[in-house]
């Protein structure tokens, strides 16, 4: 049995609140999203901001009603069996404000244990285990408002495990975290799959994170899944093509979007004004690309051949970078 099955999911949001007798316009956020996640799999949804990742997660966690299509989680229909699904899943939502800051770490977990109907005789033990697991047992009586962002995220993960969910949804779990906390979260997530056999659906716009963690990745853009495979399988899409990384100054992003080559800005350093561009070009076209950049006003500092990454896959599929 599949843990998650999504078939032709569509979602439109009204521009205004749809009150009776009020005509409203609708904006399409998801056009056609279909995928399946195996039990015990760590599945990634990779895409830029606004691609539809969070909408997909909200539909699968029963927080949002889809406009079309169907989805089942652990065999339960998201429209008909929302309560059954909610008993068996949990979510680490984007952002740090999903906890009660005026309660302590322990009080937060106790509250969520109660609304998830965790048996009273198990409650204490489970909270203790989870707080120890995320390294917060020593701070259990401290108010969450005094926690760092990384600690809040660790507590949010503990909260999401309070009902021992079979499927865990993680929406941008490392967004805004310092390097150390992000590493902790990634290692913890991997451990949940390998040791606890949890099924995880993770959204991210960090390619390295998706590549490092996920068994399979679906790339989503403009509300559609445009590719789905293992990280290696996805990278095979760009194998055989020359991938180059160019470091240059004075690059104008709007010019890059108009470029007659498959290329995208993948990083920049505002302090030096140096930007990194990745491009897929044949060897004979490389001088033309450099010439084009110079004509566009950029000062090219270096050109290097690189191993393809998921960013290159995204550039190949969409003609843009994940950050554009």
């Amino acid at each position: 049995m599949w843990a998650i099955e999504a078939e032709g999911l569509k979602k439109s949001y009204p521009k205004r609140i749809p009150l009776p007798f009020r005509r409203v316009e609708w904006v399409e956020a998801l056009k056609d999203v279909s995928f399946r996640v195996k039990r015990g799999e760590l599945f990634g949804l990779l895409g830029p901001n606004g691609a539809g990742k969070t909408t997909t997660i909200k539909i699968l966690t029963t927080l949002l009603e889809p406009s079309g299509g169907t989805a089942r989680v652990l065999g339960f229909d998201i429209r008909e069996d929302a309560r059954e699904i909610r008993k068996r899943i949990n979510l680490v939502a984007e952002g740090e404000r999903t906890l009660y800051w005026r309660l302590s770490a322990y009080e937060n977990l106790k509250y969520f244990a109660r609304i998830y109907y965790v048996p009273r005789e198990e409650e204490r033990k489970r909270i203790e285990t989870l707080l120890k697991l995320v390294g917060l047992w020593g701070r259990r009586n401290d108010l969450v408002m005094n926690f760092s962002r990384g600690m809040k995220q660790r507590l949010a993960i503990a909260k999401a495990l309070i009902n021992d969910p079979e499927v865990l949804f993680l929406d941008e779990p490392t967004l805004g975290l310092d390097v150390q906390s992000a590493v902790f979260v990634r290692e913890f997530v991997r451990k949940l799959v390998e040791e606890e056999r949890k099924t995880i659906l993770l959204t991210t716009h960090y390619m390295a994170e998706a590549e490092e963690l996920c068994d399979r990745i679906a790339i989503i853009d403009h509300g559609k899944i445009i590719a789905l495979d293992t990280p290696e399988g996805l990278k095979r899409l760009v194998r055989g093509e020359e991938t180059v990384e160019i470091r240059a100054r004075d690059i104008r992003p709007e010019k890059i979007l108009e470029a007659p080559f498959r290329m995208a800005i993948v990083g920049d350093d505002p302090s030096t004004g140096i930007a990194k561009i990745r491009a897929q070009v044949d060897e004979e076209d490389l001088p033309k690309l450099v010439e084009w950049l110079v004509k566009a006003g950029a000062k090219v500092l270096s050109v290097e051949r690189k191993e393809p990454t998921l960013e290159d896959v995204f550039i190949k599929l969409t003609g843009r970078g994940l950050r554009d």
Partner: protein
């Protein structure tokens, strides 16, 4: 599960003693203002005019009963409007929705906890008001009033679901709710008798459970019986199921619509 919501809300509120003290002080200051203003207008503490129209001539007692009941009555609405809004702002609302607990039960727990907290605070204000204005409050009067107060608050708990639904949908309806709360202060005879109002307002005031609970409690304080206020009791018995039905239906509609547009936040 409702107990968990109450425990959480109590912890967050009573963790800050200054907040508790300031709430009590605000309650007392408003009461003093209204009572002294009323006495200034009436030309003294006792009014024969007031007694003729309400059966209670002592203005501080009249105002204290109405004021405390009003404050506690609006607390479910405050909980639904400001409590839910705060959850939306915190980002904790969706976390609660995601749990297998029914949303309506979670919100009922929220309203009940605010109502209990306000009852505690207003109990103190009532006692302080009694001391300041030398009002003889007896245990038997309180016991006799309790069923009426509970019925009135039950009506408001149901009525408040309208606001719970609207706040999920429209997010920022605080100002609208406040207009409603203050309108009730006028139209339920809290600080002055309804007999001074035009007949249509008097008819409209029947729709507020507070109108009836205040009239019943004042009558009991003046030594009257339940029989003397049977019409008000009947109104309350009609309003409790009516407001629960209307509140529940509107809430369910708002909940369904919110699942289409998203619970979102701020």
């Amino acid at each position: 599960m409702i107990g968990a919501v109450i425990e959480k809300e109590f912890r967050m509120f009573f963790r800050y003693p200054l907040r508790v003290i300031s709430s009590i002080l605000v309650g007392i200051v408003f009461l003093l203002q209204f009572v002294y203003f009323g006495q200034a207008v009436l030309g003294g503490r006792y009014s024969t005019l007031l007694e003729a129209s309400t059966g209670m001539g002592d203005y501080p007692t009249y105002a204290l009963i109405g004021y405390v009941l009003w404050w506690v009555s609006v607390s479910p609405m405050e909980a639904y409007v400001w409590g839910v809004r705060r959850e939306l702002q915190r980002g904790t609302f969706e976390t609660n929705v995601l749990s297998p607990s029914r949303l309506i039960s979670l919100l009922f727990g929220l309203a009940l906890s605010w109502l209990l907290m306000d009852s505690l605070l207003m109990g103190i204000v009532f006692a302080v008001g009694g001391l300041i204005f030398d009002i003889p409050i007896t245990g038997s009067f309180i016991l006799k009033s309790l069923p009426v107060i509970v019925a009135s608050l039950a009506a408001f708990l149901g009525f408040g679901f309208i606001f719970a639904g609207l706040v999920m949908l429209l997010k920022n309806i605080g100002p609208f709710a406040q207009i409603f709360e203050f309108a009730m202060l006028f139209f339920a005879g809290v600080f002055f008798p309804l007999s001074v109002m035009p007949p249509w307002i008097r008819s409209l005031s029947n729709l507020f459970p507070l109108t009836h609970s205040a009239a019943i409690v004042r009558n009991l304080f003046a030594g009257g019986t339940y029989l003397q206020v049977a019409d008000h009791i009947l109104w309350l018995l009609v309003l409790v199921p009516l407001y629960w039905t209307v509140g529940y239906l509107i809430f369910r509609w708002a909940e369904r619509t919110t699942r289409v547009i998203g619970y979102g936040g701020y």
